[in-house]
């Protein structure tokens, strides 16, 4: 992997040049109750490869829902349904009948709001994604674990206690471990659902630094409540309100020169 393009491990995977849309969402409406009410309405946006894109908006605006549409985590809800529109990732409609959500999720990792390492050793946590793919070769795993932990800036802190429980780590370390676990399977896109909301400012700062570094290898989509965070980490920002995309632009424009009144009110703290 290098700065200018994002590739899959497998030879047949399409390559998306940096700044070209890797995810393109077209007129997407989504419902949690089989189409009776739409949680997301007519959303269209393109997310460029190799960039950090932030979703902001008040609680309940649908930003997390949209994020979970991207790796089809909403499949876990029995009554979830895409009512209209399409999500194309790497040129493939991800809701097409011949798309296997499990394969999709191997390419699109996710980091959750509440850090959720398994009650296993640090090593096993990072190796988990590879193990479920049937990779059990010790040297391959060792290498992947070290590489991922190094990329997530955790290696120096945990290298001497890889076999101790992950739950012995601090909150910030646990969240970085979850990031390491996610990037160990070498996804192209990493989705982050308010990754810092359970962390203190120092741990948050470390995660933000990490996001800046990870940007070199992955396309990152981050949902955040914290507007300063969006300005610090993201290249582009999308503002959502009540299930609709209000404005989507370069982050500097959204916060410095918003075109729509609602956006301006929100980013200047007048509501939300």
């Amino acid at each position: 992997m290098n700065d200018s393009s994002v590739t899959l491990d497998s030879a047949d995977a399409p390559v998306v040049a940096a700044n070209e849309p890797i995810i393109s969402i077209d007129d997407l409406s989504f419902s949690y109750d089989l189409g009776k009410t739409n949680t997301l309405r007519n959303i269209s946006l393109d997310i460029p490869a190799g960039k950090v894109t932030a979703f902001i908006g008040p609680s309940g605006c649908g930003k997390s829902t949209l994020l979970r549409c991207l790796n089809r985590m909403n499949d876990l809800v029995d009554t979830a349904k895409v009512t209209t529109g399409k999500i194309n990732i790497l040129g493939q409609d991800i809701n097409a009948p011949d798309v296997e959500a499990i394969e999709l999720r191997k390419h699109i990792g996710m980091v959750f709001q509440k850090y959720n390492p398994f009650p296993k050793s640090i090593y096993e946590n990072v190796a988990y994604g590879l193990r479920v793919q049937g990779i059990n070769n010790k040297s391959v795993l060792d290498q992947a674990v070290e590489e991922s932990l190094q990329k997530s800036a955790l290696w120096s802190e945990v290298k001497d206690r890889l076999n101790t429980s992950a739950l012995g780590l601090s909150g910030g370390q646990q969240q970085r471990l979850c990031i390491a676990r996610t990037i160990a399977v070498k996804p192209q896109i990493v989705l982050m659902d308010e990754p810092c909301s359970a962390l203190d400012p120092i741990a948050t700062a470390r995660i933000e630094e990490l996001i800046a570094e990870l940007q070199q290898d992955f396309t990152i989509v981050i949902v955040t409540h914290n507007m300063q965070q969006a300005t610090r980490v993201s290249d582009r920002t999308a503002f959502f309100y009540l299930g609709e995309l209000i404005e989507y632009d370069e982050t500097t424009n959204i916060f410095g020169n918003p075109k729509i009144k609602q956006t301006e009110d929100y980013v200047s703290g007048r509501f939300g």
């Binding site: 790796n71 876990l76 959720n116 398994f118 009650p119 994604g129 739950l167 399977v185």
Partner: protein, 387 residues
Amino acid sequence: MPESKTVSKNPFRASSRKQKVKDGLGVGVFAIFTYIIMACAVVIIGKITLDGLPVILKSEAPFINTEFFTKKTMTLNQFDTAEGEMVRMDNDDFYAFREKNPDAVINNHKTFSYAGGGIIGPIVGTFMLVIVCMIVSLFVGISAAIYLNEYARKGKTLNAIRLSIMNLAGVPSIVYGLFGAAFFVHSPFFPVFTNTPDWEKALFAMPLWPTDGYLSFQGWGESLLAGGLTLAVMALPVIIAACEESLKAVPKGFREASLALGATKWQCIRTAVLPYAAPGILTASVLGITRVAGETAPIMFTAAVAGKDKLPWEDAQGTGLYWISDMMTQSVQALPYHIYVVTGKLPDDPALKNMQYGSVFVFLLLVISIAMVSVFLRARFRKKLKW
């Protein structure tokens, strides 16, 4: 306001005596009921221990009445010797005594069935029933709970299934007994491996070439299998409910993390859910099984007999599969049924007391120790898996 008044008055005084008395009364009532329950438990267990302990202990080494645990149940003889001393001995000892002293005077000779010897038969029977029950009910119960909790779509059907499972828990045990008798004992759908099919009962028997045996669909009769499965059916509602609770207690984050890493549903359940639900599942299931192990009604028509000279494996015929099949289709003695026989079925007599209290005490020890093992296991697991 004059200063002296504000100083002398305690602002934190109870607002009224009445309120205080009411409050105290409430606490008192709750406490009294709690202590009444405790007293009941102490009296019951105390009485059983006081009368049961002497049966399994003796005054000389090794201080434990091993015969009570190793001898089979047999008839108890009670008679008066020439000196007028009342003596009780089981059939084995009685015949040995008669052989040794053919001229001994025996007055007022009375016999009591099933009240002499030991209880190896009931102990073994209960153990084997519990093992059959455990294997079947854990396997079926855990599978059903995983399906209901992890796979099944939420909706009316699922609610209906849950409701019917809950209702099953309320079915009286005797009904399970009758169901077991009709289904496992008398219906001919269940096959046995045998050299000598019962042609009268069998639907059909499939010859198993090259051996000269058959797979005969003739039903299991009153047997370990029938009894164990009846107990398993009875334990299922409790086990399913307990497993579902344990599965629900596993944080959703584990499932999401696992699935987001590209695990299949089954991989997710196997590696990110079951290991963390296992302690709860195990403990609750073992407790559920302990409960049904103490039931009499489900086994009295399906497995248990009052007296039996041979243990299941001593009576089994044939070799290999045939031997196992024959052993599993033996009827057995079982502790709860044995207790029922020696206390409820026989006319009461002081001569029965030892057998009654001895059996009850051993049974209690057995059940408590199984429960303790499960509690101990849970504590061990909990220490290892905390989140």
